[in-house]
Symmetry: C2
Subunit: 160 residues, 2 copies
């Protein structure tokens, strides 16, 4: 592996390890447990479960590697806050959506070359990218990995 | 910038952004506030403040880029749990230690080439690294960045 390929492999490994830990949290919860708030007055696990599926699905378009698979998840899990939408998927349904979205996303990300990762993502304009070349796809991958760690820390605090 | 240099710059930027957010949390707390637990029954802010200084100081040796500046912080903030050691530095002292450690660490990390980042860290043996080449310095940088996000999530949960 070249140096640049190794650096990409590092970032993808960190992403997958974080993702696995997150999935372990969500997939171990029953429908009843998913109704609990992660801390008093905060989002429910159910909401965050769907939030992650929707946020990661949107990485398809953000990284310009394909269409979102489930745009219908944007309203209940990204645009709206928890409890704004009453009819949310069950644990079993979210589990299927999780697998579908991540299988697709991870397969598409694996195909990107190191150079692809340094190209701009779709939320930055050509003009802005010219002056801020680190607003690239790799920045998205790294920030989404940290986003997972952020919530893992919160889950850990209240699991006892 | 080459592709590999850009990828390293991305990882360093993510690290620095996380570090800045973390520093903002700690440096805004008074000595009295630092005595508070981040959640009932958990570590105090003071302990985590020192924990981060000590953990990041140890990155000097882990990345093989110099000696630790303050090995005396290892016992109270890494080896021992919170409250095991009574005499801990004040907020003002920790602030100075923070700056000193991070100025040194960040300057040393800036000097590493992309290839340097793909070389092994000191906590993995030559034999193990031969079969697991992603146990490199970049893995350390990425995991320490996620470590910060992990605690930022916890702080956010209880700041209201």
């Amino acid at each position: 592996m070249s140096v640049e390929q190794t650096l990409v492999a590092n970032a993808l490994l960190a992403w997958k390890q974080a993702l696995e830990r997150l999935h372990k949290v969500f997939s171990s919860l029953s429908d009843e447990q998913l109704q609990k708030e992660i801390a008093p007055g905060k989002n429910r696990y159910l909401y965050l479960y769907g939030h992650y599926v929707a946020a990661h699905d949107s990485m398809h378009t953000l990284l310009d590697i394909g269409p979102r698979l489930h745009p219908e998840l944007e309203a209940p899990f990204l645009k709206e806050k928890d409890r704004a939408v009453a009819d949310l998927p069950s644990a079993a349904e979210l589990g299927k959506l999780w697998d579908e979205v991540h299988d697709s996303l991870n397969a598409a990300m694996e195909k990107l070359t190191a150079e692809d990762w340094t190209r701009k993502h779709t939320a930055v304009s050509v003009e802005d990218f010219a002056t801020a070349p680190l607003r690239n796809r790799m920045a998205i991958l790294l920030s989404r990995t940290s986003h997972i760690a952020y919530h893992l820390g919160q889950f850990q605090l209240h699991k006892d």
